[in-house]
Symmetry: none
Amino acid sequence: MKNLPLNALRAFAAVYDSGGVRPAARLLEVTHSSVSRHLRELEAWLGVELFEKREGHRLLIFSPAGEALGRASLSSLRALESAVESLREQRRGNSITIETTPSFAARWLLPRLPALEEAHPWIEVSIVIEQKLTDQATGTSDFSIRMGRGPWRDLVCEALMDDALYPVVGRNLWEEKRRKLSNNDLTGIRAIHDRDPQAAWQSWQKRYPLKGLNLRTGPRFASSDLVLRAASQNQGVALARDRLARDDVASGALVRPFGENRIEIPDAYWIVRDPQAKERVAVTTAIDWLKKETSLTEG
Amino acid sequence: MKNLPLNALRAFAAVYDSGGVRPAARLLEVTHSSVSRHLRELEAWLGVELFEKREGHRLLIFSPAGEALGRASLSSLRALESAVESLREQRRGNSITIETTPSFAARWLLPRLPALEEAHPWIEVSIVIEQKLTDQATGTSDFSIRMGRGPWRDLVCEALMDDALYPVVGRNLWEEKRRKLSNNDLTGIRAIHDRDPQAAWQSWQKRYPLKGLNLRTGPRFASSDLVLRAASQNQGVALARDRLARDDVASGALVRPFGENRIEIPDAYWIVRDPQAKERVAVTTAIDWLKKETSLTEG
DNA sequence: TTTCATGGTCTCAATAATAGACCAAAAATA
DNA sequence: TATTTTTGGTCTATTATTGAGACCATGAAA
């Protein structure tokens, strides 16, 4: 095993497999001179002629020894390749990659990962962050979780869960402006804006009109997470997505100044998959767990 | 097949086979750092952990993936090794290599190769030329044929055949100096010298004294073949070995100026073998054939 | 407690592999 | 029949890979 010229044997096996030096070179993605050199060195090392001696240089014919070595080396290398591929399959079998926005990742998914991994210890979860989810499958993840108005064409879409919108403020701002806020009056209190059109103040104002709401001023963030952080830090009042804010509301870090008023958003989150991706047990198991997790928190 | 890190897989298989990095390094005759490096690079390339993570650096434990790859890679590499060894056995079974001097090869062995190969078509003969045969087995040939005073210590020696010495001249020189040479007179005719002490003019002069023989002048060759070629080309008179000159004498290209006078050299040629070499049928068959060939020409 | 054996890492040198250029010859094409 | 294309082969220069050597930390053995 120690001195086997493995690269030369691979080149030889490739020639045997593909029928010539140049097809083998294409197979291995090297130049034909590299393959030719391997063959000569293999013959020299073995002390055996692997090809029939022929006048002119045209289309190698394997000697009986060459045939025997060709079969054996191809078989061995293919077995190695299979073993390696099997490991790779297994690795892919065990791990999944979820793509979603930073906000959703930080505020909903990450806190639930330990529970997912405890329920299915054999599944290894990775999260890929994409600021802007495209309308196309990128192939870098097993599935993505999107907010928005699905389903989307050319993609496999399943509704994951609904959501609700309601305003939130930090505790300190609440203590300071309690009276005013209780009168549905935002005069002198700035609104924090989310660039996500589904979470725009306009939709709130239409349902629950507020005095002094200035739609044109106030900081704008592309990230719902940043929106909520700003609110927690008493920088204004934010229109929060329940799914992202619920934990902070429960802990008191955020306060709902207008009571239980809310705007429902049905089918606000979607599981989105590449229609051409091969179905894998780990992926479907994880999706099932996520659905179960969201249905338990329904209502 | 194209991107398989074959050397890393071999290192890994060796670790699997031998139980550790350092035993594997000894097996492969490299340093343990080389093996260690291969292992890390293999893991990185595969994206799979092949060893259990353990505190401290003590005795690698294979992960299930490592076990699987270890079995597969060891099996594949052993199959490759078997195939290669099988070819080598086949080669060794069918082919022999004879080592001898250029002169003997050119003038005695080569002309007889067709007959040997016709008698034993399954034996493939190679000839290795060594100007100076050493007193040690070099391992690069199956046996050697030596001229000289054997046997030699630490080697297996069998007498092959005797020889005889007699002077020869080219045909033209013979026509030109016929009268003088018939009178055993070399005055004005130069002697051609062989550096082989067994073929020195001194031994001829002692037995059959010649007039005008100058032992100190005339060209000297280390090759008996060159000596005979020079004689054929009428460059002087040479003291020939019968075994090497017989064919030229028979064809008339060389003439024996002093009739049937000759000096016998018993046991002039020896079959010399490495005492530790494994006995192979092709080798013993070839030696038997050579002995039979020489006994047929005895007398 | 000291020594030995283990696996790991890094840098530098040596070796192996590869690309690119050129060649000759056979097969295919016009 | 002549020309073009494809084949395998070889050589040199460059690049990549492999290995050695030195050093380290840690656990087991003496």
